[in-house]
């Protein structure tokens, strides 16, 4: 790029048509610019080839100009004042070049990209652009309600160990607890107020309602930004549940009776992580209860 701007100056310098100041300024640039120096070498080499004696004359004239700058009787040990330096001179910085070229280049790249790049397309249903119609629909269809399972191990003398998060259903898919644990269920992601019923089905197919406790009403949860506890903690030991248990959290606008609850659970297969119809939402996952 630099050579493009200086080709003519270099040719004029070789031809001896530049002023002394301009020629020295150009030499300062040539010391630090290999492409320009190569062009200079090419032209000057040709000129020397055509007339070798001319090179000696130019060399002498330049030396005499440099010596003229030395004070009379003095031998200044400063080559820089004589127009030469062992170190390559730093070429003058051209601040306007990046100011012009960078935005121009960026604009050109943007134009090129917008012209050449094909419009993004959805390769298949697995990829959905965030905020697109498909994304909104997917979010509407996704099981928003999440059941959080906390557990706390029973310690000696009725005390409890610190509470830990055992899992998040359906995200975790599986929660591991012990029969010695107290379990606390919480829910988050509710969009509308809902009664929550939590049931468990063991490997024999027996369904046991964990929340609400017998004789109590299903707790009503309001939509909230933070998880809300579903009833009091549950001591797993009296439930007799051990091993792999299927856990169901049923969110309904109205309280469900046993028949409706059994129907809802029966209609849900194991692989359905989140079943949803107009009035009943269900979140399900595996609870592994170790003896």
């Amino acid at each position: 790029m630099s050579l493009l701007f200086r080709k003519r100056s270099i040719a004029r310098a070789v031809a001896g048509e530049l002023s002394h100041q301009s020629a020295e300024s150009l030499r300062g640039h040539l010391r630090g610019c290999a492409p320009c120096r190569a062009h200079y070498d090419e032209l000057m080499g040709t000129l020397v080839l055509l007339n070798p004696a001319g090179a000696a004359d130019r060399e002498k004239a330049r030396l005499m100009r440099a010596l003229d700058q030395v004070p009379v009787g003095g031998r200044q040990d400063d080559a820089a004042t004589l127009g030469t330096s062992a170190r390559p001179a730093v070429p003058p910085r051209r601040f306007w070049i990046p100011l012009v070229l960078v935005p121009t280049g960026a604009f050109a790249a943007w134009m090129f990209a917008s012209l050449r790049a094909p419009a993004p397309t959805l390769p298949d249903d697995d990829i959905v652009w965030r905020g697109s119609t498909g994304d909104v629909q997917a979010q509407a269809q996704a099981p928003a309600e999440t059941l959080l399972v906390y557990a706390s191990r029973r310690a000696s003398q009725g005390a409890r160990d610190p509470v830990r998060l055992a899992g998040e259903i359906p995200a975790s898919g599986e929660c591991r607890v012990s029969v010695e644990d107290y379990v606390q269920f919480s829910a988050k992601g509710l969009r509308t107020p809902a009664h929550v019923t939590i049931a468990a089905r063991d490997t024999s197919g027996r369904v046991q309602i964990l929340i609400p406790r017998p004789g109590a009403n299903a707790p009503l949860l309001q939509p909230a930004a933070v998880p809300k506890a579903i009833g009091p903690s549950l001591d797993l030991k009296p439930t007799g549940l051990v091993g792999v248990v299927r856990l169901y959290a049923v969110f309904s606008a109205k309280e469900l009776d046993d028949v409706a609850l059994q129907a809802a659970i029966a209609a849900t297969t194991v692989v359905d992580a989140g079943a949803r119809n107009s009035s009943v939402h269900m979140t399900t996952g595996t609870l592994l209860i170790t003896p």
């Binding site: 040719a11 200079y40 080499g45 055509l50 030396l63 030469t84």
Partner: protein, 190 residues
């Protein structure tokens, strides 16, 4: 090598006398140019180094001791050391094969150089044949003989501006001429 500068000039050279310096320069410039060319074959680097060497000689003239030897080896030593310093300053290691012996300098015409000069002249003649009459005249007087634009204009009958334009044009054309480029390559590599 025979000493070509008398003692009086040498004494004045040591004292920084400009006239004596010019006498020394006239006597030893070709020799030192040859020394520098061994280290810096490219024109720009060579010009810079030659300038540096002579400025250094000018500064160090007082350190020359005629009782310890003649001027010629002292000048060549200064030139050689300065060239090596310049190479080191550019991060390049001086090539030990570039050491210049006395024979390298004295025998300036070798069979190889004669043949090379012949090829250069041949390339120049061939280039000249392809030029128009005006161009050929300007080429001869301006580029080969290095006359001023006014002198060339007076000889050729062309305007000085036209001569200046043609000189630049011919220089660029010559630089792009394959035969001349090949000859230039030989000279640069030698």
């Amino acid at each position: 090598m025979q000493e070509s500068v008398d003692l009086d000039t040498t004494s004045r050279f040591r004292l920084g006398d400009r006239e004596a310096f010019l006498v020394v320069y006239a006597a030893y410039a070709p020799t030192l140019r040859m020394v520098v060319s061994r280290y810096f074959p490219r024109p720009f680097d060579r010009e810079e180094a030659v300038q540096e060497v002579w400025l250094l000689i000018h500064r160090m003239a007082a350190s020359f001791d005629p009782d310890r030897g003649t001027l010629s080896p002292w000048l060549r030593t200064v030139a050689t050391n300065r060239c090596k310093e310049l190479l080191r300053a550019r991060g390049r290691r001086p090539d030990p094969r570039k050491e210049v012996s006395e024979s390298d300098i004295v025998t300036s015409t070798t069979p190889e150089s004669v043949a090379r000069d012949g090829r250069v002249q041949e390339a120049i003649a061939r280039f000249s044949k392809g030029l128009s009459a005006d161009e050929a005249q300007v080429f001869q007087h301006s580029l080969l003989e290095e006359r001023t634009h006014d002198e060339v204009a007076a000889v050729t009958g062309l305007g000085a501006r036209r001569c200046k334009y043609l000189r630049m044009k011919l220089l660029l054309r010559a630089a792009a001429d394959p035969a001349l480029r090949q000859a230039l390559g030989e000279v640069t590599e030698s």
